[in-house]
Amino acid sequence: MTVLADPTVVVENAEAQRGRRDYTLAVLVVLIGLIVCAAVLAPWIAPHPPNQTDILGTGAGPSASHLLGTDALGRDIFSRLLYGARLSLLGPALIIAFATLAGVFLAISSVWIGGWYDVLVSRLLDLLFAIPGLLVAILAVAVIGPGLLAPVIALSLAYTPYIARVLRSVALRERQLAYIESSTLIGYSAWTICTRQLLPNVTSLIRAQATIAFGAALVDLAATSYLGLGVQPPTAEWGIMVANGQSSLLNGQPWESVSAGVMIVVVVVLVNLIGERLASRAENA
């Protein structure tokens, strides 16, 4: 008869497994969720069409029918804010999605392959990292033309190193651990080891980084629109609204710029807070 192992489970870890309830995180996620919902449901909840002008009612302050007033062309600011959320959130989402995919691929492949490949990729990422995202976006617009496409492409490239660098050092550490080596010994293919052994152990960190980068990408994208290089009028988008509302601001009607600006700040702060919490959870794991 073989010697039986002790069946009791290590207590302190069992409790940690059940997950510690993080109420703050839940609240933050709910808040962001509300904003996203509002953006998605914009066509149904917006009181007015975003591009409906009203020459007689320009520059009006908040009222019953126009919760935040109207802009210089008489369009309802509140509705434009809701519709604007769609682009302002979608853009960064696309950027981060691409940057994460590319970053994960580059980081894990460099950690696995090593050698000259690792050096090459690292130098490439350093190069990308060194050029400010906004600059690349401007250059892209100069080449491709204004609109959402150019900045999104450019910023996707610019944000890849943010994800890749952090991931690379963590992945490097994981790779030294015995379970990766024993996976090699058992006979799993390199692809299997990278995706099913290594990757799951770094996803918590990826989530955290991606979330934090989302906020930065949002600001950068809004900045390109603000500069008139990204989304073009008459499309509603927060960055454009900040720009458009500037003249009204000087005339004593801050509603357009301020509301759009506040939305940007709120979203970025929420996302950053969530990202920080995710990051500390990833570290403690």
Partner: protein, 331 residues
Amino acid sequence: MTSQLLEVDGLHVDIPIRGRLRSVIHDGSFAIARGESLGLVGESGSGKSMTARTIMRLLMRGAVATGSVRFDGEDVLAMSPAKLRRYQGANVSMIYQDPRAHINPVRTIGDFLLEGPAARGVPRREAHDRAVDLLGQVGIADGGRRMRQYPHQLSGGLLQRVMIASALLTSPELLLADEPTTALDVTTQEEVMAILDEQRQGRQLAMLFITHDLDLAAAVTDRMAVMYAGMIIEVGASEGIHTEARHPYTVGLLGSRPVIGQRSRIQTVPGRPISAFEAGSGCVFAARCPFRIDRCVAERPALRDVGGREVACHRAEELQGRIEFPKEALT
């Protein structure tokens, strides 16, 4: 009564683990006389390292220690910062399992050794000479050269000797050695232990020697305390430990180790060693003890005198140390 150099009484220590305060030492009581060497033997979770840290008053933030730890009559846990500094700096010295974690890698060995004396105002020349002399005593012949080297240039064994020298430099009255040779090769361990023993006996230094190796403790200590799950379950003379042990855990531990020259199935203690907070309200060893009775699970036995040794076991007299663990584990 200050005849005992160190008196620990009713020590309870809780430390924060994953955000919650957990008990790791329960009702610790023992004493070390001047010049006496006491071994503290246990496995993981026994609380042995934490005991040493409590004596040094080097517990982590959030840890709570109650009970008394009296050094030369004075309660360490209640000492003022100035007295504590003197206590930690000169009266007591500690050597650790991993010397590299306790030496600044960007400063020389000499800087490390002379830091303490410099803080106490010892003239540099004198301190330097003393250090070189001590290095010689611990078997490092070219002390002067070594003092100019950096930690990474020394092997683990050499570095541990440097630690010993550093601990002795302050002429302490009590030395706490926390698994000082566990991380070393076995031949190096013998060498370092021989030096430590030599030095200790030569200076009539009191020592608390912490290890998981019963035989090692027996070799360099006068008395031994065995800890399990935060409790001291047996205390007695080191000399007779192999024949006189009374507590089932001690006997189990003695039998767990294969002996060279005898090839037979090992008598195993079923299960695994636990920490204080994982034990129930009865005897801490009850869950793994093949000799437990109902009383053991209901009532925690206190340390009491049984045939010249102190044992925390309800059945100590009855079992008389004639304990054989089953060769197969019990479920």
